[in-house]
Subunit: 328 residues, 2 copies
């Protein structure tokens, strides 16, 4: 965890971040579709972070974290480690601030994500296949170069940035549903940045927050059960963005008293949810971005008002073509 | 052309239709994406009618036209003829009004569209491959059964309904761009319902309206050049929704003094635009729905504010998979 001025991120800090991000990231649409509602048996409010800058909510946290660096830090550049969307987000935000960015990505990262990072002007270093391996490489690089590590999730400024997606969803539901609130909110979990952000945004609200992880990559579920962070060798999953070895310490600390339930979804459910969303609402998500919807389609309480965070939309054309052939 | 109370549809009638349609059809999002803007060299405002009820703007016109029928007419049910999206729209609106609908579709209509019409409770009769053949069949059926024909495009109530998509786009641009207006608007043209609607919505505005047709299916372009409606045997095109044999008389009459330019796009441009839109903005359109974007990508005036009507999103999964393999 990098040093942070924010030990206990709050809803007010997220509201400040929302001001800071205005005009920098998109205020993404909140989609409604009655046919999908009918299939789910609940009223779904889909926050389309797949339509965010660089195609994922990660743009929010990266921009927010980099905007808080000091002049001294800026001069030494930044680095990070990521399987994909956070890498793109950091490269994108670094370009905006004209910073040098060196990014450690796994050797098995989808080519579409590696190419996108390079196209944004960052240097990519491929290393290992787990978050632990690439984290170690980034730490070593940071020690040598004095570059600042922009953490993927275990950092207060990142969490506060990600919280703005949930804030916008909450605000739009209130505005469009005559002051009503969400009964449930389904959130995909990798390292827990989006989840911790959701917990902050919905501070003091009765909305039940439901964490959704891929089967075999359920560090948050295991951690919530154990009462402390539990590492887990991630199994294979379509949801390449949701397989860190362990959730963040700060993320878990924020989530543990606020998350109402943690569930897992399998690849079949993820693929079906992705294709169903695409054909029904005409919205493309990546497998990680379909996980929360898969959870909602199976577990949403019937007849209630349900938020779903569609976290990202970066999928290789060939992967999508295969999913269409399987589930179309 | 069916009888209509509106001989010369006006912008005020479209504003009334907008009130009538509120809560019945979606006020679809207007999408902005800076990466796509960069690729186009212009500021694109994408009206996402692919996200409309039944996946196309046709829901607007069908609902509006059916809402104007008399009690006498309602009792005899309705009929129509369409290659797909208008058929779905009529079936959907008929279900809402609890009417019997009999729909004549071409024998080569995509299965996804035929199935959708049946799922909405309408009866489908397959006949021929051209709009003339299915129109003749519908007229014969209407004469026997006294059912009312809901025209696909050559009808004032249909045109007024379709105009509401352009009205919403215009209103949202004004609201989000500090009172600015669109410099150009790219509109896909089949029979000309959406185009005539755009002309009405932008009555009195300096926005230049550009009609986009597939190569080999350019009845509007030929008609504008000839000063009268010119029929054309439609050639093969990916854009199955844009191949009527001739544009509507009323549609042409409205368009002829208002359309600034008519252009054509080929299948390669349509496929590329569809895949580019999907991968960049995460929005799925059908080939017909990508035609206007293909036109804008090639012909939009650099540096200007450009509206694009994404008219529909109903594409067979296998067709999409093929386009991803070709253009992804």
């Amino acid at each position: 965890m990098t040093e942070s001025v924010l030990a206990n991120p709050t809803r007010n800090q997220a509201l400040s971040a929302q001001q800071r991000l205005r005009g920098k990231v998109y205020a993404t649409p909140v989609l409604r579709n009655y046919d999908l509602d009918e299939q789910c048996g609940a009223q779904l409010w889909l926050k389309a972070e797949n339509m965010q800058r660089v195609g994922a909510f990660k743009a929010r946290g990266a921009y927010n974290a980099i905007s808080q660096l000091t002049a001294d830090q800026l001069g030494n550049g930044i680095t990070t480690y990521s399987s994909g969307n956070h890498a793109q987000a950091v490269a994108w935000a670094a370009r905006g601030f004209r910073l040098k960015a060196t990014i450690f990505m796994p050797t098995n990262a989808p080519a579409i994500k590696v190419d996108a990072v390079k196209a944004l002007g960052a240097e990519v270093v491929s290393v290992g296949t787990t978050s632990l391996e690439r984290h170690a490489a980034a730490k070593e690089f940071a020690a040598e170069s004095k570059a600042t590590i922009i953490e993927p999730f275990d950092d207060a400024n990142i969490i506060v940035g990600q919280a703005t997606a949930s804030l916008e969803l909450q605000q739009e539901v209130t505005a469009r549903a005559n002051g009503a609130i969400l009964d449930e909110l389904f959130v995909p979990v990798g390292g827990g940045g989006l989840l911790a952000g959701a917990c902050i945004a919905f501070e003091g609200s009765p909305t039940k927050i439901i964490a959704v992880e891929p089967e075999g990559c359920s560090s948050m579920k295991a951690s919530l059960a154990a009462g402390e962070v539990v590492a887990m060798e991630p199994g294979p999953t379509l949801a390449d963005g949701l397989k860190p070895t362990r959730v963040g310490e700060l993320n878990f600390a924020i989530a543990k008293d606020r998350v109402g339930k943690a569930i897992t979804v399998n690849d079949k459910e993820i693929g079906e949810a992705l294709v169903k969303l695409l054909l029904t609402t005409k919205t493309l998500v990546e497998p990680s971005g379909a996980a929360a919807l898969a959870g909602a389609l199976r577990s949403a309480t019937k007849g209630t008002r349900v938020g779903v965070l569609l976290s990202g939309g970066n999928i290789a054309p060939a992967t999508l073509a295969n999913l269409l052939r399987t589930h179309g």
